[in-house]
């Protein structure tokens, strides 16, 4: 087998060195009745070429070549080739977690840069080395808020990504933490500040809001932060569309920022791997979960980096760790680091402006095609609309026939928004495709 670097003769020699006559003896410690003699019911090994054609076949059964207006937590963005040039270098790809600092300065330095860029972007003071994704970073942030405040109730904006809310529920259920939903304003799509204020009692650990929220609407995070702080609660600010960071004023008075960096790192890839971020103020660092890289010096006094503050982590603190996370999403974080480095300050701004322009152009096109905006709040690169002439399912069915994947049907997560679509336009969407999608909205008007 091509992955096994041993010839039959070498195998014999090694067994002989162990004084064994057959490989079976290697497994003598496994009781006979637990040792299988039957082979696994998995077909013969394939050549590389068969494997490629198997997956190419599967891929060709999928949505290659379609224009897409899907966002809702996973976004199509241009990805410079240099990202993979770097991330497929064996030195990065096939390294373990950088526990041995002396021969891991490559990974360590890049994580230090990642932490710095995330802090710069989010307006926080420190960031960790990554979380699994946005949906798990949020409950980790919630748990962190609970630890910091020693309170157990969290208020969660209903406009947080519904799947993030589901994950939050799963995580909180057994920890004596409660997560209560705070409705969004049916008019603006923003958090209903009155509803929030009325629930902000002294037992609230934190308020979790997403901006741009699930409906693409930019929240007034500073205002929400004041409200939260007024009640001694923390504000956890989250995002699923990192491209917005290029243009939105960061929520500097948030206490914790948790979010999803997929937009900067990885193609949608049917849901993963993505990369979660967690950032906070320096004062909270010891309550932060996940790995952190710090600067130090080597024995010759030269700048060097290493994993630090490990006493927060499971391998030292065990049952009393801040989190159980061990393996995170380092390689995807590296991809994001390369992406952020390439785009840089101006590129990120331009990216955000293009997204803004495309989405607003599309919104106007759809309005002209009879679609009615669901919310009045300002949006970044996605927005909710209700087709007027035709039902949403029909709009999307017509689009699909034309090679276009339409927006997300919001009824899936919000029964009251049945019939509305969450439509996203990133910089990758072409004007022609927007026109074609808009035409699908008109269909019934015309006909």
């Amino acid at each position: 087998m091509r992955y096994l670097p041993k010839s039959p003769v070498e195998r014999e020699e090694m067994l002989a060195a162990l004084g064994m006559e057959s490989a079976e003896e290697l497994f003598a410690a496994i009781p006979d009745e637990l040792r299988r003699t039957a082979g696994l019911d998995i077909p013969r090994g394939m050549s590389e070429f068969e494997i490629r054609s198997y997956f190419e076949q599967r891929g060709s059964e999928a949505a290659g070549g379609y224009a897409s207006f899907l966002g809702a937590g996973a976004y199509h963005h241009y990805r410079p080739v240099v990202i993979d040039t770097i991330a497929t270098r064996g030195e990065f790809l096939t390294a373990y977690t950088p526990y041995q600092a002396e021969i891991s300065q490559g990974v360590l330095t890049s994580i230090f840069e990642f932490q710095t860029m995330i802090a710069q972007l989010t307006g926080m003071e420190v960031a960790n080395a990554s979380m699994y994704d946005g949906s798990t970073a949020v409950p980790e942030a919630g748990m962190m808020a609970a630890r910091i405040t020693r309170r157990g109730r969290l208020l969660v904006a209903e406009s947080l990504h519904p799947e993030y809310r589901q994950v939050l529920d799963t995580y909180f259920r057994h920890q004596g933490l409660t997560a209560e939903t705070v409705a969004f304003d049916r008019e603006t799509g923003r958090v209903d500040t009155e509803a929030l204020a009325s629930r902000l009692t002294g037992d609230v650990a934190g308020v979790i809001v997403q901006s741009p929220n699930f409906f693409g609407i930019v929240e007034q995070v500073e205002e929400l932060a004041s409200l939260a702080h007024g009640a001694g609660a923390l504000l956890v600010s989250t995002f699923s569309e990192a491209a917005s960071l290029g243009i939105l004023e960061p929520a500097a008075s948030a206490d914790i920022v948790a979010g999803e960096l997929q937009s900067f790192a990885h193609p949608p890839s049917y849901g993963g791997p993505y990369v979660g971020v967690l950032a906070t103020k320096m004062r909270n660092i010891r309550q932060m979960p996940g790995r952190i890289v710090g600067e130090t010096v080597d024995s010759r006094g030269r700048r060097a980096y290493c994993l630090t503050l490990a006493t927060r982590e499971q391998h030292i603190r065990r049952a009393r760790a801040t989190s159980n996370i061990c393996t995170n999403q380092a390689l995807v974080a590296l991809m994001a680091t390369v992406y952020m480095s390439l785009l840089g300050k101006d590129g990120l701004r331009e990216l955000a402006e293009q997204n803004l322009a495309k989405a607003h152009f599309l919104a106007a096109e759809l309005r002209e095609s009879g679609a009615i905006p669901v919310f009045s709040g300002p949006f970044f690169n996605e927005f909710a609309v209700r087709p007027s002439g035709r039902v949403a399912t029909e709009v999307n069915r017509a689009a699909l026939e034309g090679g276009i994947i339409g927006g997300l049907e919001l009824g899936r997560f919000f029964p009251e928004l049945e019939g509305a679509l969450l439509v996203c336009a990133t910089e990758t969407v072409k004007r022609d495709d927007m026109a074609a999608y808009a035409a699908c909205f008109r269909g019934a008007l015309d006909g």
């Binding site: 087998m1 091509r2 992955y3 670097p5 060195a17 497994f27 410690a29 496994i30 019911d41 998995i42 068969e50 997956f55 076949q57 599967r58 999928a62 410079p80 993979d84 040039t85 770097i86 030195e91 096939t94 390294a95 373990y96 977690t97 950088p98 041995q100 600092a101 002396e102 990974v107 890049s110 230090f112 799947e163 589901q166 799963t170 920890q175 939105l248 960061p250 890839s269 049917y270 849901g271 993963g272 660092i285 600067e295 060097a304 006493t311 499971q314 391998h315 603190r317 996370i325 999403q329 590296l334 480095s341 390439l342 785009l343 840089g344 300050k345 101006d346 590129g347 803004l356 322009a357």
Partner: protein, 494 residues
């Protein structure tokens, strides 16, 4: 040599230190719609004016920066990486290629089911193979890593007990367990009761019997355990637990010792997780992404996270309508790209191939054990499976610790083994070569370890000051923790 300044490649600073206003490494296509004014559409209070300190560099500088950084890193592609418990095996390159196929990489998690049949088929096939390898009944591939799988597994157990109106409080964990086990149990809301291993490094069944009562939700066992020893009494262990209504959780991080040879489902295990980034060759990438599928016996299946794949007569579909499910542990469909890679690995080996790989993995570990047992102390005599664990007790007499020996290995061109784990071995040297090492590479490693054992006796200071051949000499970890500097800041005047 002192008179030479450092190589540029060795001096590479941080990207922030190469920035200059107006440089960029990427351009976007020109906007094909009218630009809008951010201040107008968003309100100027919401618009940022700058990202202070953010990089401004060109493409060539980015390529060079990360290429240079990469040259400071050790990796499997450079040589043996015998981190015990980590299963650092060769990461086949075809896995990377197939994960990047257009229809796979660019698939959106919410795209229509009709356009996702190939993707669901990949997931279904992987699930069925994992079920077969583990001898379990069902599997979820949603968890993003091993620890995430552990959490999922414990929540399943919790839901199972709660569904039966039988809330339980305690999770038993051997003192040899990986740190994620107790951490996970806490996060799942359980109290952890640590149980001491016996003199052979295994679970003490009598002690287990003594604590197993109806407060116990589960025992988390690693098999082979973290000392590389197969828990031969695993069936008895399962029986003890089941008798008191508890579940047996298996940490499958060490499945590389078992795939194709023995199946946890037949041990009496109720739920287990796998690390696709260990046994199934998906790359570690400097710390992730991984994937931690959880396999269960039938009675736990109703509780698995949503969505599940369902086969309708016309097509594969995702099923959200599972009222007893624990819910979601992660958005979307898990680390799908990692699943693709793991399936590519299984397809490459096939059923027989997986078994052969396991044989070679165990052969390699025992070959190293044989080569080192005269030089290092072997705390447990029981036969080794995929890894062998020594202690530094002989070297400690010369003031040399496992960590020093590890650093010295670097000078010999190898990545160190795992240090300071498992906790039940004082000064552990935990060595897992995996099956993708050649005899030649193992021989070189054994030679190096023998040479170091020798150096410890002749010149312990040399070993304590290692590594001496690397760009970065021994790193001051204490200083890093004492006054944490965890991000770059411009120096005054910059």
């Amino acid at each position: 040599m002192d008179r030479v300044r450092q190589h540029t490649t060795l001096n590479e600073g941080l990207l922030f230190e190469r920035s200059s206003p107006g440089k960029s490494g990427c351009q976007l296509p020109p906007l094909d719609v009218p630009a809008v004014s951010p201040g107008e559409v968003l309100g100027s209070a919401l618009v940022r004016s700058d990202i202070p300190g953010f990089p401004e560099v060109s493409e060539v500088e980015v390529v060079r920066h990360f290429t240079r950084l990469s040259s400071w890193n050790y990796a499997i592609d450079l040589g043996l990486y015998p981190l015990g418990s980590c299963t650092m095996k060769y990461n086949p390159r075809v896995n990377e290629a197939v994960a990047r196929i257009d229809g796979i990489a660019n698939a959106h998690p919410y795209q229509p089911t009709s356009l996702s049949q190939g993707l669901l088929e990949i997931q279904r096939t992987l699930e069925s193979y994992l079920v077969e390898i583990c001898g379990m009944d069902a599997v979820t591939v949603q968890p993003a890593a091993g620890a995430h799988g552990e959490l999922t597994g414990l929540l399943l157990i919790r839901a199972y007990h709660e569904a039966a109106g039988d809330a339980r409080r305690v999770v038993l964990i051997p003192d040899s367990a990986h740190g994620t086990n107790p951490a996970t149990a806490s996060i799942a809301g359980y109290d952890v009761l640590e149980i001491r291993s016996n003199a052979s490094g295994m679970i003490d069944v009598d002690r287990l019997r003594a604590v197993a009562d109806d407060s116990v939700a589960a025992l988390m066992v690693t098999n082979p355990n973290t000392v590389g020893i197969f828990e031969g009494q695993i069936r008895e262990v399962a029986e003890v637990l089941h008798r008191c209504g508890a579940q047996l959780y298996m940490d499958g991080a060490n499945m590389n010792a078992l795939a194709g040879i023995a199946r946890p489902g037949e041990f009496g295990v109720d739920v287990m997780h796998l690390n696709l980034h260990k046994t199934f060759s998906t790359p570690h990438g400097g710390g992730g992404p991984g994937a931690g599928p959880v396999a269960v016996r039938e009675h736990l299946e109703p509780f698995l996270p949503v969505p599940r794949i369902r086969e309708s007569p016309e097509q594969l579909e995702l099923d959200w309508d599972r009222p007893r499910s624990i819910g979601r542990v992660r958005a979307f469909n898990g680390n799908f790209g990692v699943l693709v890679r793991a399936l590519a690995y299984i397809l490459a080996h096939g059923g027989d191939g997986l078994r052969n790989a396991t044989v070679d993995a165990v052969l390699n570990a025992n070959y190293i054990r044989k080569g080192l047992e005269d030089h290092y102390d072997l705390p447990y005599e029981a036969p080794s499976m995929h890894e062998c664990v020594f202690s530094d007790s002989r070297q400690a007499r010369h003031g040399v610790k496992t960590g020093d020996i590890a650093k010295r290995l670097i000078d010999y061109g190898f990545h160190p083994y795992t240090v300071s784990f498992p906790l039940i071995v004082k000064g552990a040297l935990m060595i897992e070569p995996t099956e993708t090492e050649s005899k030649r590479e193992l021989d070189a490693f054994v030679d190096a370890m023998q040479a170091i054992a020798d150096e410890v006796e002749r010149d312990p200071d040399l070993v304590r000051s290692a590594p001496v051949t690397t760009r970065t000499s021994r790193v001051d970890e204490t200083r890093a923790a004492r006054k944490p500097v965890v991000r770059w800041q411009p120096r005054k005047g910059e």
